[in-house]
Amino acid sequence: MTPEEIKIQELEKAWINPPGFIGWLRIVNQTNIGIRYINTSLIFFFMAGVLGGIMRAQLAAPENELVGPEMFNQIFTVHGTAMMFLFAIPMVEGLGAYLVPLMIGTRDLSFPRLSSFSYFVFLIGGVTLFGSLLLQVAPNAGWFNYVPLALKEWSVGKNIDVYATVITFIEISALAAAVELIVTILKQRAPGMSMAKMPVFVWSILVMAFMIVFAMPGVVVGSVMLALDRLVGTVFFDASVGGDSLLWQHLFWWFGHPEVYIAFLPAAGVVSTVIPVFCRRPLYGHTAVVLSMVAIGIISFGLWVHHMFTTGIPDQANAFFSVASAMIAIPSGIQIYCWIATLWTGRPKFTTALLWCMGFVIVFVVGGLTGVMVASVPFDKQTHDTYFVVAHFHYVLIGGVVFPLFGGVYYWWPKFTGKLLNETLGKWNFWMVLVGFNVAFFPMHLLGFMGMPRRIYTYLEEMQWGPLNLLSSIGAYVLTLGFLIFIVNIIWTHFKGEKAGPNPWNASTLEWYAESPPRNYKFLEIPQVNSLNPLWEKEELKPATIGMRTDRREILITEILTGKLQAVAILPTNTIWPLVLSIATGMAFIGSIFSPWWFVGSFFLVFLAITGWFWPSRPWDEGRDV
């Protein structure tokens, strides 16, 4: 064997994924965890989509009796909660977990066990939510879950307790993932990759992760107060004894609005990555795009009150948040300008991934403009909580998040699986979704003008909302068919897909330097990075350093700003403790739906699991498995 073959063999051994089902549960490798995140959130996306289909069936005709009000309320609540908490956030986190280490040229995330833990917690939370729907005790007060409707007095069943539990899971999982992504991005970039040479997608994930860290505490506090109000009778939100019903709205929207951008920024990062690759030129205005993303991250914390313009908040305050809301259009506009400029000056190749990104721009502009409209206080007072707003945020969230994410999936699929998704099916997928989407959601603007409020399970025939609702439902089913083509495409590709080399798109970032799919150790040598688009440089990439040990999981640590090499760190190997801890956490929160004592009891289990996790033996230092 040549020295290189020996090295590969040793690396394979050090980074091995244990076999068997138990082994599967112990894996901590970032690409595996990332794929689990992406797959799971896509499954939840389809399940929540089916719920959307049921709603559209119910609303297709006036006074329809397909589902009653109680079930409808559960369905729309789970649809919203799942799309936001179980699809949007985990999907972008999963993309981040998978792509960030590859893009910055490292071998794993900084806390591999934490990533495994955050995935399992997310999975338990998601299964709990959909399980509760099967048992018909799903949350039924909307994903925004306003009090006092969500307090014990008005929601006697377990429904709201399920809500409080599920969002607690997602908070934990999202915070864990965010912390991990921040540390990885700041400290593990390949030597030479200064902040200025960091890929734009990594920037978007960095901003997103910081936003999670700042936004989540709001809803953590809110959901804990809600759980306490319901479980042990604290009265934070009960106005009749001095609590405040508006407090929940502030806490929730402090998180809830940035949440939209938490999903949107990585999606925009995907667009900024995909467009240049297929235009065969670097992104126009890289710095402007990055600064815009940072600006969006900051401004998005100053506009939560625009969800509350009608609550009787004084005009002065409304005016401030109105201006801040409209200001978001500026950094968004800069990004759109840069994307168009890249297309204009490049030589575009119309792959499915690029089509998704172009479709995104138009749909997102429409959604953004209705967003500027509802940022205007008087206009919002008419359209707030009507179908106009439903149309607006579906344009923003499907157009602004789902479209680019699907573009990203088409773009990175060869990296994930080693096979290229079928382009013909991909184009059918895109056009069906684009047409279905607009037929489904454009009429909702008009329904809003016709006075149709949101969250209604039925409406009277004389309201004359019937025809447009029927049209919208038809569109929704075209949209569904469009998404089904995606599943067909996956299956087709699995059996007959064309093999992709390491870099089928001739892209410029480091993830395409690794094999497709990447080995567990990702890179044989950590490369020295000297440019923003390292794979488009004429020179071959060279190893940044020599002499890294191959018998244990070693990564390079670099300086935050300059990316100068600082140290070598050793990562832990496969372990079962993250799973044990997530089960213990799950028992604490799911148990607390029934009795607060579960929380106390599970505390000891959590303690045990953490003890196991932090047990002082560190066999991986010697290159041994646990």
């Binding site: 009000p69 109680e70 309320n73 306003y146 006092p148 409707l149 008005w154 106005a239 019903s245 126009y284 205005g285 402007a288 009608t310 609550t311 109105s322 200001m327 259009a329 506009g333 759109i336 300008y337 168009i340 400029a341 297309l343 204009w344 000056t345 030589r347 172009m358 721009v361 138009i362 502009v365 429409v366 403009l369 209705t370 500027v372 409209m373 205007s376 206080v377 008087p378 206009f379 919002d380 007072k381 008419q382 909580d385 009507t386 008009l446 003008f449 016709m450 006075g451 149709m452 409020p453 949101r454 969250r455 209604i456 039925t458 009277l460 004389e462 309201m463 004359q464 909302w465 025809p467």
Partner: protein, 327 residues
């Protein structure tokens, strides 16, 4: 010219589909008029931006001529001009709209009407201009035309939102807080309103009517509504059914002399016969619908707080006669 007329045709088709009683283009008050004007301005700007962006996107993607005449420096200038344009446009939009949709001039202090959000109906209390309490009614609000009227909006249940698109934007009703809305109807008419904040099982059908009448009719109406129930001999059986079948537990008829249980509070029925609709503006007020509603309210609006009242045909008929006579 041809383009212009096509555009006009499309727009007309698009917005002529906006019909129905709750259509916000059918504005009948100064606030809603202003917002319709605001909408057309916003729509114009939004259409312009959408068309421009789409044009440049598609042209940028499809254009054949790929020489290097457009360099990054020129693009940079474009970005700066674009930014200046966007910022000024936004400032104009925001600052010119802040004062729109504001109530007409009114005197601070007294309110003539208080509306309370219930599960899932609307309780209305009327006051005279000096602030003295007059009477209570439900799901049908009468206001005078030609002058602003100040409405106090509260809730003692969950959050509701008071919205009559033809008159003004919505204002939430929050437990523990007081909100005010000043509306003015320019002409007489009947306007439908509906709860706009999700408030539980029957949120979907929690609606009401606002009737704008002349000042003269308004005082007559108030005088009539203030009157108590007077016993009519021929309706004695109906009255007995009302008291004995449990209706009276939730529904007050002022002057009947039987107290309701404060815990289960339903709409005041003193002048029930004068209302055009029943069940929070869901069904027309006639014997057929009312009979069905009394016998099976859960079938009509599942989850509402009114229990079914089993009655014999004779009893039901007497009850219906009695209720419809409460003018």
């Amino acid at each position: 010219m041809k383009f212009g007329s096509t555009l006009l045709l499309i727009l007309t088709l698009l917005f002529s589909s906006c019909v129905g009683e709750q259509n916000f283009f059918a504005g009948k008050g100064p606030q809603s008029h202003e917002i319709i004007k605001l909408w057309w301005t916003l729509f114009g700007i939004a259409s312009f931006v959408t068309v421009t962006v789409s044009f440049f996107l598609v042209r940028g993607a499809l254009k054949k001529n790929r020489d290097d005449s457009v360099n990054d420096e020129a693009l940079g200038k474009g970005l700066v001009y674009g930014l200046i344009g966007t910022i000024s446009l936004l400032l104009v939009i925001i600052f010119s709209t802040l004062r729109l949709g504001h109530p007409p001039e009114y005197s601070e202090g007294n309110f003539e009407l208080k509306v309370v959000g219930k599960m899932w109906w609307w309780q209305a209390h009327y006051y005279d201009p000096e602030g003295n309490y007059l009477f209570e009614t439900a799901n049908e609000i009468v206001i005078p035309t030609g002058r602003p009227i100040r409405i106090k909006l509260v809730s003692d249940t969950v959050i509701h939102s008071f919205w009559v698109p033809a008159l003004a934007g919505k204002v939430d009703m929050l437990p523990g807080r007081e909100n005010f809305l000043v509306v003015k109807a320019d002409e007489e008419g009947v306007f439908r309103g509906q709860c706009a904040e999700f408030c539980g099982t029957q949120h979907a059908l929690m609606s009401f009517y606002v009737k704008a009448v002349s000042e003269d009719q308004f005082s007559k109406w108030k005088e009539k509504q203030g009157k108590k129930y007077k016993r009519i001999k021929s309706h004695a059986l109906g009255e007995r059914v009302f008291i004995n079948s449990g209706c009276v537990k939730c529904h007050t008829i002022r002057g009947l002399g039987v107290a309701t249980d404060a815990k289960y509070y339903g709409p005041d029925l003193t002048h029930f016969g004068s209302r055009s609709h029943i069940a929070a503006a869901t069904y027309p007020n006639n014997k057929g619908h009312l009979g069905g509603w009394i016998l099976d309210p859960q079938g009509a609006k599942p989850g509402n707080y009114m229990p079914a009242t089993p009655l014999s045909g004779k009893e039901l008929n007497a009850l219906l006669e009695f209720l419809e006579a409460l003018k």
